[in-house]
């Protein structure tokens, strides 16, 4: 019997290695796997490359992980926001590496990794600072830059419901980066609020099929602090 459900956050995060690239789902706090990030802090892996839309806020979650010196590099689209104090300081002091990626390019690079596409072309960022050092090419008279797949060792995602095969549904805008990140990592770990019996989830509504999911853990999160 396939059973991807584990009993604790610690069990879900077992084996994450130093030096890993870790994808972290969510947009704002919606769909953000807070408990798994806390679990990663506990788990201890260091020298991480983290991929998330933001560079953390306050002193919790991803920001805390950075503050503890466990993040070597962050890949994101929007590093500076109101509460990104930890990132700001580490960055100023040269203690963290940053790769800025347009949000759509970031999503597409992960989708490409999941879909077996090593590289693709996009018009996004052509003629801007972010195209520097990127290969440029013209198709039908328009300029594009080449972008590479962004593959990861681990993805931490938040879903709404899951079953023991690892099938996942999302709640409204909680979907965001999560299904894309689930495709792009060797080990995708999902936290969800509800465990359902196999067959309870509509086969038309499963947004992340279990094929992309390694472990599922149920947490009592409640609503995101939006």
């Amino acid at each position: 019997m396939i059973n991807k459900i584990v009993n604790s956050v610690a069990e879900a995060l077992a084996g994450v290695k130093d030096g890993s690239t870790v994808l972290i789902g969510g947009f704002g706090s919606v769909g953000q796997p807070d408990e798994l990030i806390e679990g990663l802090i506990e788990q201890g892996a260091t020298d991480l490359t983290c991929v998330a839309n933001n560079a953390g806020t306050g002193h919790v979650g991803l920001a805390r992980l950075m503050e503890l010196g466990r993040v070597r590099k962050i890949i994101c689209s929007f590093p500076r926001s109101a509460g990104s104090v930890v990132f700001e300081e580490l960055y100023r002091e040269g203690k963290i590496e940053l790769e800025i990626v347009p949000q759509g390019t970031m999503a597409e690079r992960m989708r490409a990794a999941g879909a077996g596409i090593p590289a693709f072309y996009t018009a996004t960022s052509t003629g801007t600072l972010l195209a520097k050092g990127k290969e440029e090419r013209e198709f039908n008279g328009r300029k594009y830059v080449m972008e590479h797949a962004l593959k990861a060792d681990v993805a931490l995602i938040e879903g709404w419901e899951a079953d023991r095969w690892g099938n996942i549904t999302y709640n409204q805008s909680g979907r965001n980066f999560n299904p894309v990140m689930a495709m792009a990592a060797d080990i995708t770990i999902a936290q969800v609020q509800h465990i359902r019996e196999l067959g309870e989830l509509s086969p038309e509504m499963i947004a992340t099929p279990g094929i992309y999911v390694k472990r599922v853990v149920r947490v009592d999160r409640g609503a995101p602090w939006a």
């Binding site: 947009f27 704002g28 919606v30 689209s77 929007f78 590093p79 500076r80 926001s81 700001e88 960055y91 940053l98 800025i100 990626v101 347009p102 949000q103 759509g104 390019t105 999503a107 597409e108 992960m110 989708r111 996009t122 018009a123 996004t124 960022s125 052509t126 003629g127 801007t128 600072l129 972010l130 999302y170 709640n171 409204q172 805008s173 909680g174 979907r175 965001n176 980066f177 999560n178 299904p179 894309v180 947004a207 609503a223 995101p224 602090w225 939006a226």
Partner: protein, 214 residues
């Protein structure tokens, strides 16, 4: 001189959006535009975090924290709305399926260039978000911004001095002093002007030639 208020700028942009368009609104004043489009004129608002068909802000007590827009504000979903993931959402944006994107701006140039994400080449950690994707992907861009900076420097320019967000895609600018079209090959054309401002005054506050329709 009676400059347009932020609400007036938003209302003017809202009035110009035809029914049936799919529209992405940037953070800041652009977000206000949705409030000025009556529900019966069906405009489909898209948010890059995978929400298509956003409705007005939720009534007090009926907020749903699982349903937010790109500015992380709680919103509602209209009947007919749908959800998708980030790659599918940006496929809509980058694939040319969004009729209009309205963004804020640092500078807009007469060739349609937009700068709105970094104020200097030396800023090594600027936040780009989805601006570059929207900048090149939407069928057209409108920009809503103050006509000048706080210290009076024109934001309407011949060529952008700030790092570009996207080249050549701005078609209209709503400022507190005027509404300007950008006609390819010509440049800025005055479409509307705030009460009590002369064309000469407007030109003086702009660093690019303003044309008028004859």
């Amino acid at each position: 001189m009676q400059p347009f208020s932020r609400a007036q700028m938003a209302a003017k942009a809202a009035a110009d959006i035809p029914e049936g368009w799919v529209v992405n609104l940037g953070i800041g004043i652009p977000t206000l535009i949705a409030d000025h489009v009556p529900l019966e004129r069906e405009v489909i608002f898209q948010s890059e975090n995978g929400v298509l068909g956003m409705g007005p802000a939720p009534e007090k007590g009926r907020e749903d924290p699982w349903l937010i827009n790109a500015g992380k504000q709680m919103v509602t979903l209209r009947p007919g709305g749908s959800f998708c993931h980030h790659a599918d959402s940006f496929a809509m944006i980058r694939g040319g399926h969004i009729d209009l994107c309205v963004l804020g701006g640092f500078e807009v140039a007469e060739n349609g260039d937009l700068a709105n994400w970094a104020t200097s080449e030396n800023d090594t950690a600027p936040a780009v978000g989805g601006a570059m994707d929207l900048g090149v992907g939407a069928k057209q861009l409108w920009v809503v911004m103050e006509h000048t900076t706080k210290d009076g420097r024109p934001k309407i320019v011949e060529r952008c001095g700030y790092p570009l967000t996207a080249p050549g895609n701005v078609r209209r600018v709503y400022t507190n002093l005027a509404v300007l079209d950008i006609e390819p090959g010509l440049g800025f054309v005055v479409r509307d002007i705030a009460p009590g401002i002369s064309l000469e005054e407007l030109q003086a506050k702009s660093a690019a030639k303003l044309h008028t329709r004859s």
